[in-house]
């Protein structure tokens, strides 16, 4: 796709976004099926997208990620997903306020 590092980062953002859908729907309501399904679909999509688009079984000195890079990129992608989620909920609040 776009290079190993960027692919990993983007797929992690998608997966963490999916997880946040599940985590927040679980907390707010017991019957929130749509966000739950959306979350699972997003996580599966991220995994399929990552492993099907290129050869990912490569050593770190041949273009793969070493442990430090993985940790850093995963933390960054989690932060990005949290910011997206926050912006999403703020946007929803603004739309609701304007419609009322």
């Amino acid at each position: 796709m776009l290079g190993f590092h960027l692919d990993y980062y983007l797929c992690c953002v998608i997966a963490v976004s999916g997880l946040l859908f599940i985590a927040t729907s679980n907390r707010n309501s017991s019957a929130a099926v749509i966000p739950y399904c959306l979350g699972i679909i997003l996580m599966l999509t991220a995994a399929i997208l990552f492993f099907s688009t290129d050869n990912r079984i490569i050593n770190d000195y041949q273009g793969g990620l070493d442990a430090n890079e993985q940790t850093g990129l995963f933390a960054l992608s989690t932060l990005t997903a949290l910011i997206i989620r926050k912006l999403f909920s703020v946007g929803k609040k603004i739309i609701r306020t304007n419609s009322n």
Binding site: I22, F51, R56, I58, N59, L65
Partner: protein
């Protein structure tokens, strides 16, 4: 004593050959083992579970308990990595494909085979959660053991390396429990501040 060590090493190699000899029987199993045994699927899955646990509980008291477990998992992982680094300085074991005729269907790592650092890392993330939440813990443990098996199957670790990784994780868990108990009050207070401080309201979901 030396004979005993040689017997164990011989048994380890025989066990490796039993598992690794199945490579090539079904291509779908080989591809699945390559993906499960990779550095990306199981570690990311376990980290996602930890993020889920961080946001899971609705009551403050239970949320604090869960977050302490997540922090303990991360601390155990760090200690396990440290132990692996120290052990790699002391001893070096060749990879199976360098010693015996193995079916290698993975990339060829160059670092020490013993202990398995990936198994030590994933089991270290799992043990604290397993101790507190059995259902989620079983899910994490089974995926960790799947990774451990796949690392042997694809030909990059002996079963003994995997066992060494699990033992490393157990030792690091004991050490991190000791550390967490030592600073439990401070950690609890920090989490409470994170939870209640209005200035941090913006970063909470």
């Amino acid at each position: 004593m030396q004979d005993f060590i040689y017997t164990i090493i011989d048994f380890d190699q025989r066990l490796f050959l039993v598992v690794n000899s199945k490579v090539g029987t079904f291509s779908i199993i080989d591809s699945s083992a390559r993906i499960i045994g990779s550095d990306y699927l199981v570690p990311v899955f376990l980290l996602l579970v930890l993020i889920f646990l961080w946001h899971k509980e609705s009551s403050t008291l239970r949320r604090l308990k869960t977050r302490l477990t997540v922090l303990k998992s991360i601390l155990t992982l760090l200690v396990a990595c440290l132990i692996v680094i120290i052990l790699n300085q002391i001893l070096f074991r060749e990879r199976p494909f360098n010693l015996i005729e193995a079916n290698l269907i993975f990339y060829a790592p160059t670092d020490s085979s013993f202990p398995s650092n990936s198994v030590a890392a994933v089991v270290a993330l799992t043990i604290p959660v397993f101790k507190t939440y059995r259902k989620i813990g079983w899910l994490m443990l089974s995926s960790s053991l799947c990774l451990a098996f796949c690392r042997v199957y694809v030909g990059i670790h002996f079963p003994g390396d995997v066992l060494g990784g699990i033992l490393t994780a157990l030792v690091s868990f004991v050490f991190s429990t000791f550390l967490m108990n030592l600073f439990s009050k401070q950690l609890y207070l920090s989490l409470l501040i994170f939870e209640k401080w209005k200035g941090l309201k913006l970063v909470r979901l």
